[in-house]
C-alpha cells in the first residue's frame, strides 16, 4: 500500500490535471457547440426553423380561388383544368396578401402560350403544339382561345385544331383528357 500511497502527490497532481482537462473540455464545448446542436441529429436544430422562415412568393391555388371563385368554374372540364393559377399568372403571394398592394398583371398571351404550345420535337407528341408563326399570324392567342378553357364550346373558332398544324399528331379535338391532366387525384 505504501507503494501506492506513499507518494500520493503524484496521484493528486494527475487527478488535478485530469480535472483541469475535463473543465477545459466542458468550457470549450459550451462555447463552441451552437445552441440546439444534436437535438435531432448532427446539426443545429434551429436551422429547421430558419429554413421554414422564408416568405412564400407563390400563394397557391387555394388562396387564389378564395376570391376568384369564378375561374375554377370556367376551367371545369377544360383542358387547362389541371393548370394552377400561378403557372400562367406568376408569383402573386403579395397580391393574395393585399390585392391593393400588388396588382396582378394580365400575361401577354403571345409569349405565354408559346412557352408550352410552341412546336418542339422533344415535347410529348400528344401534347397540343403549333408552329406559332404559321398558326396565329401575329394575332394574340386570346383572340380565338379562352385561356381558362381553350376548347370551350361557343368560342368563335379553334384554328389550332384545323388541319395543317405543323404536322403535329394528337391535335384532334375530343374528350381525351388534357395530357397534363389530373391523373392520380390531381397535382399536389
Amino acid at each position: 500500500m505504501s507503494v501506492l500511497f506513499g507518494h500520493k502527490e503524484h496521484l493528486v497532481r494527475m487527478a488535478a490535471l485530469f480535472g483541469v482537462g475535463v473543465v477545459a473540455f466542458l468550457v470549450l464545448q459550451a462555447l463552441l457547440v451552437p445552441e440546439g446542436f444534436g437535438v435531432y441529429g448532427h446539426y443545429r436544430a434551429g436551422a429547421l426553423e430558419e429554413n421554414r422562415a422564408r416568405p412564400v412568393a407563390f400563394a397557391g391555388r387555394a388562396a387564389c380561388v378564395e376570391c376568384h371563385s369564378d375561374v375554377p368554374e370556367a376551367m371545369k372540364g377544360g383542358r387547362h383544368e389541371g393548370v394552377r393559377c400561378e403557372a400562367c399568372h406568376g408569383p402573386l403571394a403579395g397580391h393574395a396578401g393585399d390585392p391593393a398592394e400588388k396588382e396582378a398583371v394580365r400575361p401577354d398571351s403571345k409569349a405565354l402560350c408559346a412557352r408550352c404550345h410552341a412546336a418542339n420535337v422533344a415535347r410529348p407528341a400528344r401534347f397540343p403544339q403549333v408552329e406559332v408563326a404559321d398558326h396565329a399570324g401575329g394575332e394574340a392567342c386570346t383572340t380565338c382561345h379562352a385561356p381558362h378553357n381553350p376548347l370551350a364550346p361557343g368560342r368563335a373558332s379553334q384554328p389550332g385544331l384545323a388541319p395543317g398544324t405543323a404536322g403535329q399528331p394528337g391535335l384532334a379535338p375530343g374528350p381525351a383528357g388534357h395530357p397534363g391532366g389530373v391523373e392520380n387525384g390531381g397535382t399536389k
Partner: protein, 254 residues
C-alpha cells in the same frame, strides 16, 4: 449552451420520462420555438417527389418559379432545379446528346428534327432528397443534414463553403451561392411544404409532371402512383436512397 448541474439533471430527467417525438416537441418549446412543435410535426412526414418524364413539356416554368420563390441567383448556371433535353439516336442509347440552355429558364429553342429516327425528351432535375445522402455524409461541420421529415437542408449560417458536398452530390444539385459564398440547393420549398403548400415547381408545373408527395401519408396520391407505375430513381447503383422517383425514364438518362 451554458449548462449547469441543475440543467443537466433536469434534461436527463426529461429524457428518461419523454421519448421520441414528445422529447422533440418539448425541446422546441424550450428553445422558445413552440411553432415548431404543434401543427406541423416533422415525425409525421417523409417527403418525396414523383417526376413523370412523359408529361414534361420543357416549358421551364419550374426553373423560373424556383428562382423566384427561393431567390436563386439569376446569372446563368445557378439552379436549384433545371430541365435537361435528351436526344438519343435510333438504336443507339449511348451516348445521349444532352443540353440544357440556361437550365431551361428561357425554354428550349427547337434543335432536332422529328423524322431522323432519333427521339428527344425533357428530364427535370432537382435535389433527390436522398435518405442516405452522400452530401450530408461529407459535411465536416454538420451544416447540411437530412431533416426528420426527409428533406436535405442547408444551415446557411453554419456552412463554411468548403465545397465537399458540391463534389459529393452524384446528381450535381449543389452550387456555391456567389453572394454568400455558402452552399445552396433545393430545399424542397421547406418553407412552403411545412405550411401545407406544395413546392413552387409543382405549383407552377402546368402538366403535373412533378408532384410532391408525403410518403408517410397513406392517403397521398404519391402512394398510389408508386404502386401502379414502374418508377426509377437516378443512379440507383449509388444507393443514395433517392426519394425523387421518375416515371417513364429512359435508360440513357443519368
Amino acid at each position: 449552451m451554458n449548462q449547469d448541474r441543475r440543467d443537466f439533471l433536469a434534461r436527463s430527467g426529461k429524457l428518461l420520462l419523454l421519448t421520441g417525438a414528445a422529447q422533440v416537441a418539448f425541446e422546441a418549446i424550450l428553445r422558445g420555438e413552440p411553432a415548431a412543435a404543434p401543427n406541423y410535426r416533422t415525425a409525421d412526414h417523409w417527403w418525396g417527389m414523383i417526376i413523370d418524364v412523359e408529361k414534361c413539356i420543357g416549358c421551364g416554368n419550374c426553373v423560373r418559379a424556383c428562382k423566384e420563390e427561393n431567390d436563386v441567383p439569376r446569372e446563368p448556371f445557378f439552379f436549384r432545379t433545371w430541365v435537361e433535353r435528351y436526344h438519343v439516336q435510333e438504336g443507339d442509347v449511348e451516348p445521349p446528346d444532352v443540353d440544357s440552355p440556361n437550365g431551361g429558364y428561357d425554354g428550349f429553342p427547337e434543335r432536332y428534327r422529328t423524322n431522323d429516327g432519333s427521339k428527344s425528351f425533357f428530364v427535370p432535375k432537382l435535389c433527390n432528397h436522398c435518405a442516405r445522402s452522400p452530401c450530408v455524409q461529407v459535411c465536416p461541420v454538420g451544416a447540411t443534414f437530412e431533416s426528420p421529415d426527409g428533406v436535405v437542408l442547408v444551415d446557411k449560417t453554419y456552412c463554411l463553403g468548403c465545397r465537399y458536398c458540391v463534389q459529393a452530390c452524384p446528381y450535381g444539385c449543389r452550387f456555391i451561392d456567389p453572394r454568400t459564398k455558402t452552399v445552396d440547393k433545393c430545399s424542397l420549398c421547406y418553407h412552403r411544404i411545412t405550411k401545407g403548400l406544395t413546392t413552387a415547381c409543382c405549383e407552377t408545373c402546368p402538366t403535373g409532371a412533378r408532384q410532391l408527395g408525403d410518403l408517410k401519408d397513406p392517403k397521398d396520391p404519391i402512394r398510389e402512383f408508386l404502386r401502379t407505375h414502374k418508377v426509377q430513381v437516378l443512379k440507383p447503383q449509388m444507393a443514395t436512397g433517392s426519394k425523387t422517383y421518375y416515371n417513364g425514364l429512359d435508360g440513357s438518362v443519368r
